[in-house]
């Protein structure tokens, strides 16, 4: 190795060191963990190699609950947040007055602490002995029946979780979509207008194809993000998510690792690899679908 090479490696050394210790090694290690049966974190020994960890995790009702919750969350929040963000961005880009103000307000949740604001959502939705909570009062005002969204029925808890997730992810999506919309050349709209195109048709035939790469990027990152949901749930329902029936896959991994039910890195590893497989599969499906429908300039 000559001097030039040595110097380059010196510049790279810190990054390689950190990535090696905290990313590459763990990546290999997690695979090993996931196949080591009966690993004991205290004595660091295991009985042997096999797929028992996977089988255990896949039969664990908590994990199945977590999978169900995560999938429901993904199925609802990704389309809703993307659609809503699109709607709001289109509205934003068609106005002049107050546009900057609205944009700034919409971005606010991005810079706030998920855990902290989650508490506010909790008190808004929660039913306590001394108050039904603001949301319930509104529901009652319109003649509905009060529900405890935090400690009550499953669907109500799921609703709050989805609502809060959408609230949290929307700022990023609105920002990205607004700048994508602004980058579409005005001339295409003018051409379409002169040709007598209706607004709806301009939107579906021109705007959407033009921003389709961005839209697609948001859908993919949205899927990945939603599959990794965790802290939103903690913010609303507390750390004992299994008890609240609100655990997510990521939550299950952490619970297996640490906390009241922790100490099982093997199970956590198996669950993490299952999660990774799911995300990878969904992303590949997304990519395949996009080849057909996304226009890359």
């Amino acid at each position: 190795m000559d001097k030039k090479d040595a110097k380059a490696w010196l510049y790279l050394l810190p990054a390689i060191l950190f990535l090696g210790v905290f990313m590459v090694y763990p990546l290999i290690d997690v695979l090993i963990y996931s196949f080591e049966e009966g690993y004991n974190s205290a004595s660091q020994t295991s009985f042997g190699v096999g797929s028992y960890n996977y089988s255990y995790v896949l039969h664990d009702p908590y994990f199945l609950q977590a999978i169900k919750n995560t999938f429901i969350l993904v199925i609802f929040t990704v389309p809703i947040s993307t659609g809503l963000a699109l709607l709001i961005s289109v509205g934003l880009s068609s106005i002049q007055k107050l546009r900057d103000l609205f944009q700034t307000i919409y971005f606010l949740p991005y810079v706030t602490n998920t855990l902290a604001v989650g508490l506010v959502f909790m008190i808004l939705f929660k039913q306590t002995p001394y108050s039904d909570g603001l949301v319930n009062l509104v529901i009652q005002f319109f003649g509905g029946e009060a529900v405890d969204f935090i400690g009550g029925p499953y669907w109500a808890k799921m609703f709050v979780l989805c609502f809060y997730t959408v609230w949290v992810v929307l700022p990023f999506k609105i920002l990205i979509l607004t700048s994508a919309l602004a980058s579409v050349n005005e001339q295409y709209y003018n051409a379409a207008k002169v040709d007598g195109t209706s607004r709806f048709r301009i939107f579906t035939r021109i705007t959407i194809p033009m921003i389709s790469p961005t839209l697609f990027y948001l859908i993919i990152t949205g899927f990945i993000g939603a599959f990794k949901a965790y802290s939103d749930a903690v913010a609303l329902f507390g750390t004992d998510l299994n008890a609240a029936q609100m655990n997510t896959i990521v939550g299950y991994i952490y619970d297996m690792l640490y906390g009241n039910s922790g100490g099982y890195p093997s199970y956590a590893s198996a669950a993490a690899i299952i999660l990774f497989t799911i995300v990878l599969t969904i992303t590949c499906i997304n990519l395949l679908v996009s080849k057909k429908h996304v226009h890359y300039a």
Partner: protein, 291 residues
């Protein structure tokens, strides 16, 4: 002529439609604006209501005539909120600073220096971008535990300092600087490091600011890793702190005090945002992810 009447009708309906559209758009935008702002308002409002006032309101009031700051006093005295804030500050500053150094050096090597195995190594780096944090966090937890770094700043900071994505972002930016500048500096006898420090960093300042902003936001709000690695309150960051307050907080369910704590830990980033909102939004749209 008949066309003329038709045209007038079209003009009129176009005008009406435009007006209706504006009403719909502004209504929609305002409604969402309220949905976004309301939790913030509620949080501030609840934090200035006294405990007794809050608890006695079956139907919560939308304003208060006797604001009190006792909750804020509570938040700082009953629970170690100041400690959480200080920890988070130390964690954020240290992590961001180390991250910048590591990232800039690596990006510089990839963008500017020639060495054997560069392309292969860069490809390897890029492929690491696909690896989700959840996959490696398990081993990291075990590693940090074995190194007996739990409940230390080292344990908190070390695994959080590298980001392949930021290295990539910076490298792309560095690579845009014309080669001639580098050769000119070489001819003048400038060392590589000096060139990086005096030329590349100033030119790429916007990207570096972007990366810094994103990392600061990420650090301030990080929850999962600190939760795994700390169980001693003395090392809690704000996210864990607020969770702790929620679960064992003020001895009783003291929501106004809780809200005061929430306000306090939300304020630094919100103030930062209000001052730099143009830069932050620009930065996030260039290189942010969170979905």
């Amino acid at each position: 002529m008949s066309n003329q009447n038709l045209y007038e009708k079209i003009e009129k309906s176009a005008k009406n439609r435009q007006r209706a559209r504006n009403v719909v758009i502004y209504t929609l935008l305002t409604v969402w604006g309220l949905v976004v702002l309301f939790p913030f308002y509620w949080m501030v409002l609840s934090s200035v209501k006294s405990y007794s006032a809050y608890s006695s309101e079956y139907i919560p009031k939308f304003f208060t005539l006797s604001p009190t700051f006792e909750n804020y006093v509570d938040a700082f005295t009953t629970v170690p909120l100041a400690g959480y804030l200080l920890n988070t500050l130390i964690f954020t500053v240290a992590t961001t600073a180390i991250m910048l150094v590591v990232t800039i050096l690596a990006a510089f090597a990839f963008a500017r220096l020639e060495f054997r195995g560069k392309d292969m190594l860069f490809t390897l780096f890029l492929s690491l971008m696909m690896i989700p944090n959840e996959l490696v966090i398990i081993t990291n937890f075990v590693t940090i535990t074995n190194l007996e770094l739990r409940n230390t700043f080292m344990g908190l900071i070390l695994p959080s300092v590298t980001s392949v994505f930021y290295i990539y972002l910076l490298r792309e930016n560095f690579a845009q600087i014309p080669d001639q500048l580098y050769y000119a500096a070489k001819v003048d006898g400038t060392s590589d490091f000096k060139y990086l420090w005096k030329v590349m960093i100033p030119i790429c300042k916007p990207t570096i600011v972007t990366v810094t902003i994103l990392k600061v936001i990420e650090c301030w709000n990080s929850y999962v890793w600190p939760r795994l690695i700390t169980d001693d309150q003395a090392y809690f960051l704000v996210s864990n702190g607020i969770q702790e307050i929620r679960e064992n907080g003020f001895g009783r369910e003291n929501i106004p005090a809780m809200m005061a704590a929430v306000v306090v830990i939300s304020i630094p980033l919100i103030v930062l945002f209000l001052i730099f909102h143009k830069k932050i939004m620009e930065g996030v749209s260039r290189g942010g992810t969170k979905g």
